[in-house]
Every structure is written in structure tokens, then in C-alpha cells.
Amino acid sequence: MERRREILVGLVVVLGIAVGVVGTIWLQGGWRGDQLMLRAASPSAGQLVAGASVKFRGVAVGRVESVAVVPSGEAVMIEMSVRPDLAIPPDAAVLVAPESFFGDWQAEIIARDEYQVHPFLEFPEEGVLPGVALPDFSRLTATADQIAGRLTTISERFEVAFTEETAMNLKNLIDNLGLISDDLSKMISQQAARFDELAVGVSESARELAGAARTARTMLENADSLLTDAGVGTMLGDAGESMRNLRTLTGDMREAMAEMRAAAQQGVTTMNRLEGLMARAESGEGLMGRLLADQELAEGVTTAVANLNTLLADIKDNPTRYLSFSIF
């Protein structure tokens, strides 16, 4: 009896311990051998807790071992244990996100270039994967609340702005729009009639243009026949002769121009000399200068010239007085 009692008690105790230990291990995900430990830093952990799933390409490959804020307070360090044979991409990062709509979160190992829009946290420690946490529902709800508040403000302002007077103004505006619409309709009708007239004019102009085109075509045909005629050769020969004559004339003119240029040069030189002489005369140099500068000398010369004229006249009148001609 005592032996049976001992066995029963022992059985219950062993079974209870086995249920507690094995059940706990099993509910945690089963007994796992050596695991690869990974660490990731994220600005936030969201609702991630120890024991949450770690996934890679949607497949559960491990679990979160711990979630803790780093001592500096600038990030959350997430430690994960994953299958040791897991081939992690070289640019691996960790995306912390809800696993479902019901509060369970997961850490997903991703290739960073596939999620370039997310601001991953680069933690200055070797071996720490960059991470980022998606906003949870509370943040989304907070944002929705802000939007709702702004919508409320807008609706209140609209309510304030949209008074009975505003409604009347709007009604008047609509009436005015109706009137404007009628006026526009009339104007369009008038313009349509004018467009019809214009179209008729354009049609006539087109016909005239067609006639002019026909005339031009005839003229071109005549010119073509003229160009093919033998008289053109003569005309071209005469024109060539005229060009040659013109070229000769041009050469002669070039020579005349050269001579004129030389004459002009000489004129310039003469004028320079004259200016020099005039300058010297004005400065009193030479006979002319002295005559210009000395009034008495000029009168003397004038008197002398008058006397000479008198003398010459007397010589003409009385040559024998001054000349004696004898042969021997």
C-alpha cells in the first residue's frame, strides 16, 4: 500500500513537472539547438516583445530574444536568434512591423535595397544591423485624429462662411452665369454668321489664288521656252562683251582715281608748303613777311612800283632817250 502510494505521488509529481517544463518549451517554439545571434538597432520597437517571430522572406526563422533601449537612449537594441544556416543578404536590415492587426509584431530580416524608402537607423557599432519600425496603430490613429481635427476646423469655417447671404450671393452668381451664358450663346451665333461670310471670302480668295497660280504657271512655261530658245546665246554673248567693257572701264577709272589721288597728294603737299610760307610770312620772315609786317616798306615798294611803271611808260614813249642803237 505504501509502495503504491509512493508511486502514485511520484507519478503525479513527475507528470506535473514534465507538463510544466515540456509545455513551456513547446509553447515557446520548441527546443532549438545552436542559434545564430543577430543584433539590430531601430529608432523604436513598436509593440515588439521578446519571443516575437523573426522572419526572412515571410518564413519564421527565429525569435526575438530581447528588446532594450541602448544606454545613450538614441535607439532600441533588438537581439534575435535565428537558424544558423540562414543566408543573410549582405545589405541586410531589420524591419519591425505588425504581424497582424491584433497587436503581435515581428522583426523581419530584409534586403535593404528593396526597402529604400524607409529611414533605417545606422548604429555606430560593428555587427549591428540597421533597423526601422513601422508606425503602429496608435500613431496612425493619432494622425487620423489630427486629420479629423483639421477637417472639423475646415467644416466649422465653412459653416461660418456659408451664411444665408452667401447662399443668396451664390444664387445671384448662378443667375448671372446664366445670363452670361445666354450672351455668350448669342455672340457665338453672330460670330458663326461672320465666320460663314469669312468662309465665303476665303473661298473666293482661294479661287483667285488658283487663277494667279495658273497664270504664274503659264509665265514659268513661257520663261522655260524662252530659256530653251537660240536668242538667249546671243544675249549672253552681248552681256559678256558688256561685262568685259565694263571691266576695262573699271580699270581706267581705277587708274584715273590713282592719278587723282596723286594729284590730291601733291595738292596737299602744296597746301602744306603754302601754309608754311604763310606762317613764315606772318612771322615776318622773307620779303613777303617784311612787306606784311612793315607798313613803311610796303608803301616804299608801292611807290617804287609806281615809279617803275612811270619809267616803263616813258621808255615806251621815248625809247631814244634811254636807248641808243648804232652800227659801228
Partner: protein, 265 residues
């Protein structure tokens, strides 16, 4: 009565309140004395040691069938009611979560505790009450036995030691029955149920259940011993003690349940 000749009608309820208060305080004092005596009696291992194993068998092993029976149906009901509640947008695998969490944290320990309060507590109270009214306890004292070491310590230790194992087995049974119910009646698959079961599982949950069950074991056996040793007035008193044990144990179990939830969770 001489001092309050005018307020005689009012003095009766006041006197009743006073008597109740004094009785309650007296009971607390007696319970404290029993607790202190039990702690002192732990030194008399030669007295209670040989009696521990039989008491463990009575308190623990004999309680396993009824505990498993209750847990099995609790798991079935939990599974069905969870699926009924979660019908709609919430995925059905949360049935596993609700069954697991509820059985581990609450229903496993509390229902087992309440059940054992009726079975073990009433049994201990009736046994010790009978010994008290038949003066067997006095005979033990006459024979120089410490009745606390001989009667109280082995029963209380047996309850403290065996309740956690009974509760763990009950939790396992409740989860298993809930799982089978989900498979057979809710058209769920095992991976779905296990996913929900593991979803928010924390090892601390199991420790929480163990801590609660230890306290429940101490309460049920301790109150059974206390009420049994307080028995008087013959067979009628024995029945009252048994009833009182069940009622007080159940109340304290529920109070402790709330206390541990507030303290440990």
C-alpha cells in the same frame, strides 16, 4: 444596559456588530497563532515527516481525476465560447490564444483551487473537526504529541507541494481538450490553434499559475485545518466547519487571485 436605558432597541445591532468584530478578530488571532504554531512545528520533522507522503497522496493524487475532469470541460467550453465571441473580423486562431491564456493564467489555477477547496478543504475540516469533537486531538496532546505538527503541518505541506502539479496537469488537460474541440467542432487546423496558442505565450505565465496554485494549496489546507480544529458542538459543528471551510476558502482564493493578478502581472 443600565448606561443606555433609552437606546435599548439600538444597542442590539451595535452589540451584534461588536460581537462579530470581536469574533473576527479572535479568529484572525487564532489563525495567526495556528500559523505561528505551524512554523514552529516544522522543526518536528520526525512527527510530520512520515505523514507527509500519505497526505500528498490524499490531497494531490486523489484530486487529479476531478481536477482533470473539470479542466477538460472548461477547455471545451472555452474553445466553443471563444469561437462564438471571435466570429467576425478576428481570426479564428485567436481561439488558441484565448484557451491557452485563460487556462494558464486564470481558469486552471482558480477552478482547480475552488474544486479542491470543496474536496480537500472540506475533507480536512470534517476529519479534524471529528477528531476535535471526539477529543482525539486532546488525546494527542495527552500523549505529548503536538497536534499541529501531527495534523496541520503534513496536510498544509501536502497542499502546498501538490497543488501546483495538479494545476499544471489541469492546465494541460484544458488546453488539450480545447485543442481537440477546435479541431473537431470549429473546423480549425492544428497549426492554426498552435499559432494562436504560442502567439502571446510567456514562460512567466506558467510561473504565475504555479505561484497562485501554491498559495491556493496553502489556503485550502490551512483553512481546512483551522476550521476543523475550531469545531465544537458535535456532528452539527463538524458540518458547519466543513461548510465554513469551503466558503471561506473560496472567498480567499478569489481574493488571492485578484491580489496576485495585481501584484505579479
Amino acid at each position: 444596559m443600565v448606561l443606555f436605558p433609552v437606546t435599548v432597541p439600538l444597542s442590539r445591532p451595535l452589540a451584534a456588530s461588536g460581537r462579530s468584530t470581536l469574533a473576527a478578530l479572535g479568529s484572525i488571532g487564532q489563525a495567526s497563532a495556528l500559523f505561528a504554531g505551524s512554523v514552529r512545528a516544522l522543526r518536528d520533522i520526525g512527527v510530520w515527516g512520515p505523514l507527509l507522503l500519505p497526505q500528498m497522496a490524499r490531497v494531490g493524487v486523489a484530486s487529479v481525476p476531478i481536477a482533470l475532469f473539470i479542466a477538460m470541460f472548461t477547455g471545451i467550453v472555452m474553445s466553443l465560447q471563444a469561437s462564438y465571441t471571435l466570429t467576425g473580423t478576428i481570426p479564428l486562431y485567436f481561439v488558441g490564444t484565448m484557451v491557452g491564456k485563460t487556462m494558464i493564467l486564470e481558469l486552471g489555477p482558480v477552478l482547480t483551487g475552488l474544486t479542491l477547496a470543496g474536496r480537500v478543504g472540506a475533507n480536512i475540516s470534517a476529519e479534524l473537526g471529528t477528531m476535535r469533537v471526539t477529543e482525539q486531538v486532546d488525546a494527542l496532546e495527552t500523549l505529548a504529541y503536538n497536534p499541529i505538527a501531527y495534523l496541520v503541518v503534513p496536510r498544509t505541506l501536502a497542499g502546498i507541494l501538490m497543488f501546483p502539479f495538479v494545476v499544471l496537469l489541469a492546465i494541460a488537460m484544458g488546453i488539450m481538450s480545447g485543442w481537440l474541440t477546435a479541431l473537431q467542432l470549429l473546423d480549425m487546423s492544428s497549426p492554426e490553434f498552435i499559432k494562436g496558442l504560442r502567439l502571446f505565450f510567456e514562460p512567466w505565465d506558467v510561473w504565475f499559475a504555479v505561484v497562485k496554485s501554491v498559495s491556493f494549496g496553502a489556503v485550502v489546507t490551512g483553512i481546512g485545518c483551522f476550521c476543523g480544529l475550531q469545531t465544537d458542538q458535535g456532528a452539527e459543528g463538524v458540518g458547519r466547519s466543513a461548510t465554513r471551510t469551503v466558503v471561506v476558502s473560496s472567498m480567499i482564493i478569489l481574493c488571492l487571485d485578484a491580489f496576485w493578478a495585481a501584484v505579479l502581472l
